[in-house]
């Protein structure tokens, strides 16, 4: 009956319940607070309305009261803060073995590419019950990836990766909105997330792939001649990339950084920014020479060099049999 008049958004991810729980707690707290204020206002307004000959009784104030109504709200606020922080932290930390999807946003469309190689536009197919990590960047302005049913939102910023994740719990089709104003067709930059039962999802995955993203990346890696320096032994002019991803890297200036997606991205586009200890700054920049999609593929490839669990190889998609995995098991460090 109320099909067209929902009052509560659908709940289709593991995060949704956490967010809703906090939201309901907040509703109760603020509802009580509103009631307290409104009832006292109305009661005082009626009880102490002006009557001839009854003067107001002057009260200067009360320090104990002031302290009480500063400390108690502060205590409640701290509970809300801590709860909110926990929920936030959970949804900011992708689990280790997530399936990965690369998202490239542009005015006004979402381009999504599964690690297994399937490409989609404005539509994302995911299975129920699996962690999906989104590695997102924008080609132009800031966008924002918002799925109300998952209670998940992350701005998509040009020039870097931002990351989000979810685990869908219910099959169905859900809205995908862009929530960061991005120009004329901002409200048209919408799409859908199709959550499927695992079996259906496998069926869907078996069609139309160009091979895994990491394989595409490997091809690009070879075409661009990266392998001449980044050799899989220790003789190269550039660091050996085997097993680098996800590990700390010691830099020339003594800093220690984690080799995450943004690190790989920066090292390709602005190689001089972070020089690995023991190497010389000889790598040319690839800024402007490769597209965001190619960059994603390279990142996926570098990731795949750090063994399974990082790339999409653990999904048993038929088309995704790794064609080659150079230097398997030769992980240095």
């Amino acid at each position: 009956m109320f099909d067209n008049f929902p009052l509560w958004p659908e709940r289709a991810s593991t995060a949704a319940g956490n967010v809703d729980a906090l939201f309901i707690f907040l509703l109760i707290v603020s509802g009580l607070m509103t009631l307290l204020i409104f009832i006292s206002l109305l009661y005082f307004a009626a009880r102490y309305r002006h009557r001839k000959g009854v003067p107001a009784e002057q009260i200067e104030g009360s320090i104990p009261l002031e302290i009480t109504w500063s400390i108690i709200p502060l205590g409640v606020f701290m509970v809300i803060f801590a709860w909110g922080a926990v929920v936030y932290f959970k949804s900011r930390t992708p689990p280790r073995d997530s399936t990965e999807v690369y998202v490239v946003a542009k005015q006004w469309m979402w381009k999504l590419e599964h690690a297994e190689g399937q490409r989609e536009i404005n539509e994302l197919h995911v299975p129920v019950g699996r962690d999906v990590k989104l590695i997102m960047t924008s080609q132009d302005v800031i966008h924002s990836f918002f799925v109300p049913a998952f209670r998940m939102k992350q701005d998509v910023v040009p020039g870097r990766y931002t990351v989000a994740w979810f685990r869908a719990t219910k099959a169905g089709t859900y809205h995908l909105f862009c929530t960061q104003y991005c120009g004329t067709q901002h409200s048209g930059m919408i799409g859908s997330i199709v959550v499927m039962e695992p079996a259906q999802y496998e069926a869907w995955m078996s069609g139309g792939s160009n091979g895994p993203l990491s394989a595409t990346g490997e091809k690009i890696f070879a075409e661009l001649g990266c392998a001449t320096c980044h050799r899989s032994d220790t003789q190269g002019r550039g660091p050996n990339l085997q097993g680098v991803f996800g590990k700390p890297v010691l830099l020339e200036d003594g800093r220690l950084v984690t080799a995450d997606e943004n690190y790989v991205r920066e090292s390709i586009l602005d190689p001089g920014a972070k020089i690995v200890k023991g190497f010389r700054p000889v790598m040319p920049t690839f800024q402007g020479l490769i597209s965001d999609e190619q960059l994603n593929a390279l990142v996926a490839y570098v990731k795949s060099l750090s063994g399974p669990g990082q790339a999409g190889a653990n999904t048993s998609a038929a088309a995704a049999a790794p064609q080659s995995a150079p230097g398997k098991g030769s992980q240095v460090q």
Partner: protein, 550 residues
């Protein structure tokens, strides 16, 4: 207060309105009261422009499809609605009109410390306003009032530079007003007017001025950078050239979050005056209300990145800004509790200003409490940039700031114009505004939690019913805003002459004639009483009812 017979014009005393005539006497005036009226006219003009945009926005959203205007037009409408309402109405509203009129009188001075700078600030406002109007008439701007980069610097093909410069100039108008207030409050107080005796309206304006002085320059320089970046492609905010778009957001919100307090603090000051007067009581916990204003101003500077929780800032920074955001909620809560406690054992009158004050406390409470939702990291992930945010800040800025502004206009109208407004109509208008407001904006909380993003020109059909409710509310609200406009104008011609102190209110401004003479006080006042001495006033005013004690 009916049946105004305005045929007999008694011989008027010389006052600031009738002392000089002619356009020149207004355009070159340095009288703070006349400048306040100049501001009143100008901000009312911009209020109706912004309101007109708002109505068009609401009409467009009546249906899910984009059918009334083009997408680009819609984007310009919400952008300029925001810019006009924030920079040309709300920020100058109470400070530049009521503050300008009242601050010197309340502290017992003849004028603000720098009358010429005060006039200059109005001219800057007008120059900025003309630039903004010109920008609108020649194509407008579509970046959203937030000017987010790199959209504003590299992608929008509208008049970003002109709009940016306009707001830059408006910012200096605001800075000069704040500077004038701080110096006036420090240096121009009448003998006996100690800090502890200042009306809380003054404390609120003092706090507001701190934000204007220290926050506004940062947005000014940020806009300079945006304009330079757009004109010359410098790369400061453009990731394609090595810049960081989030730096813009940091700099922008460093001002624009405290700017919310520029809007709400003066309103809190107004409401404090009204509540004390119409419950005939001293304010409960004077020093806590005063210090909470200062605390809000200071803490307000520490919380800006709660607008950026999902923008890609570090998780740790988000934690810091979330916890600091709760710190600023405490002084706001303290104020609400103190207002409520002031009513206790009062002698409450229900005149129109008091109705607005009640409305303010109610709506501000709801606006403030929904702020807790947004400061909670976990919930903000979901409701950020949805209609929940829109509803929240309209509860603060329209429900709060505008309610206070209207309440203040009613309260001090007899002083400003020398005429009484029609009380019955005023109460009706207060009621209409309150109901219309809630009908407009409450559905937007639900829309927001359902996930409707802000700045959407078309939307999925399941959001329609709530949007229709909201639009219906907006038309009611429009009536509520037009009414005071009409009867204020009416009262200037036909209203009954106001006595010097129609509310038997405390405060130095009521010790002047209505309307006041050019230099406010015939003799420099000497203050020997505490603020809000309503017990003494009532005791003196009603000797036949209550035996005079002292």
């Amino acid at each position: 207060m009916s049946m105004a017979t305005a045929t007999v014009q008694p011989v008027e005393r010389e006052n600031y309105l009738n002392k000089h005539y002619g356009v020149g006497s207004w355009l070159f005036t340095t009288d703070h009261k006349r400048i306040a009226l100049l501001y009143l006219l100008s901000i009312t003009f911009f209020f109706f422009i912004g309101g007109f945009f708002a109505l068009l926005i609401r009409l467009e959203l009546l249906t899910p499809a984009g059918d009334l205007v083009q997408a680009d037009t819609y984007n310009k409408l919400f952008t300029q609605h925001g810019q006009v309402m924030v920079f040309f109405f709300l920020i100058p509203s109470i400070p530049a009109v009521l503050g300008n009129f009242l601050v010197p009188m309340m502290v017992g001075a003849k004028d603000l410390a720098f009358p010429k700078i005060n006039l200059l600030s109005w001219y800057l406002y007008i120059i900025a306003g003309i630039m903004m109007l010109h920008c609108m008439l020649t194509g407008g701007v579509d970046t959203g009032w937030t000017f987010y980069t790199p959209f504003s610097t590299a992608f929008s093909n509208t008049k970003v530079i002109e709009a940016g410069l306009s707001i830059f100039v408006a910012g200096f108008s605001s800075i000069l007003t704040g500077l004038n207030f701080v110096v006036t409050i420090h240096r121009m107080r009448a003998p006996g007017m100690t800090w502890g005796r200042l009306p809380l309206f003054i404390w609120a304006h003092y706090a507001t001025s701190i934000i204007q002085i220290l926050g506004t320059p940062v947005i000014a320089i940020t806009l300079v950078l945006v304009v330079a970046e757009r004109a010359l492609h410098l790369g400061i905010f453009d990731p394609k050239l090595g810049g960081d778009p989030l730096l813009f957001q940091h700099l922008f919100w460093f001002y624009s979050h405290p700017a919310v307090y520029i809007m709400i603090l003066p309103s809190m000051g107004v409401v404090t005056e009204i509540i004390a007067c119409f419950s005939r009581k001293r304010i409960f916990g004077y020093s806590f209300v005063a210090l909470s204003s200062i605390a809000i101003a200071v803490f307000g500077f520490l919380v800006w990145a709660h607008h950026m929780f999902v923008a890609g800032i570090s998780v740790y920074a988000a934690l810091i800004f979330s916890i600091l955001s709760y710190a600023v909620a405490v002084p706001s809560a303290v104020k609400v509790f103190n207002w409520t406690a002031t009513l206790y054992k009062g002698s409450i009158h229900y005149d129109a200003p008091m109705l607005y004050a009640f409305g303010f406390v109610g709506l501000f409470t709801m606006g403030g409490l929904t702020g807790l939702f947004l400061a909670a990291l976990g919930v903000d992930m979901h409701v950020h940039d949805t209609y929940f945010v829109i509803a929240h800040f309209h509860y603060i800025m329209v429900g709060g700031a505008l309610m206070g502004y209207l309440g203040g206009m009613h309260f001090w109208w007899p002083k400003i114009s020398g005429k009484l407004y029609p009380e019955g109509w005023a109460r009706l208008a207060a009621l209409i505004v309150f109901l219309g407001f809630n009908l407009t904006f409450f559905p937007q909380f639900i829309l927001g939690y359902l996930g409707m993003p802000r700045r959407y020109y078309q939307y999925p059909p399941e959001f329609q019913i709530l949007n229709v409710l909201s639009t219906a509310g907006a038309t009611v609200l429009a009536v509520g805003y037009l009414l005071p406009m009409i009867y204020f104008l009416w009262s200037m011609r036909y209203g009954k002459p106001a006595p010097d102190n129609p509310w038997h209110a405390a405060g130095l401004e009521w010790k002047t004639p209505s309307p006041p003479p050019t230099f406010n006080f015939e003799q420099e006042p000497v203050v020997t009483w505490e603020a809000y001495n309503y017990d003494e006033i009532d005791a003196a005013a009603a000797p036949q009812e209550v035996p005079v004690v002292g």
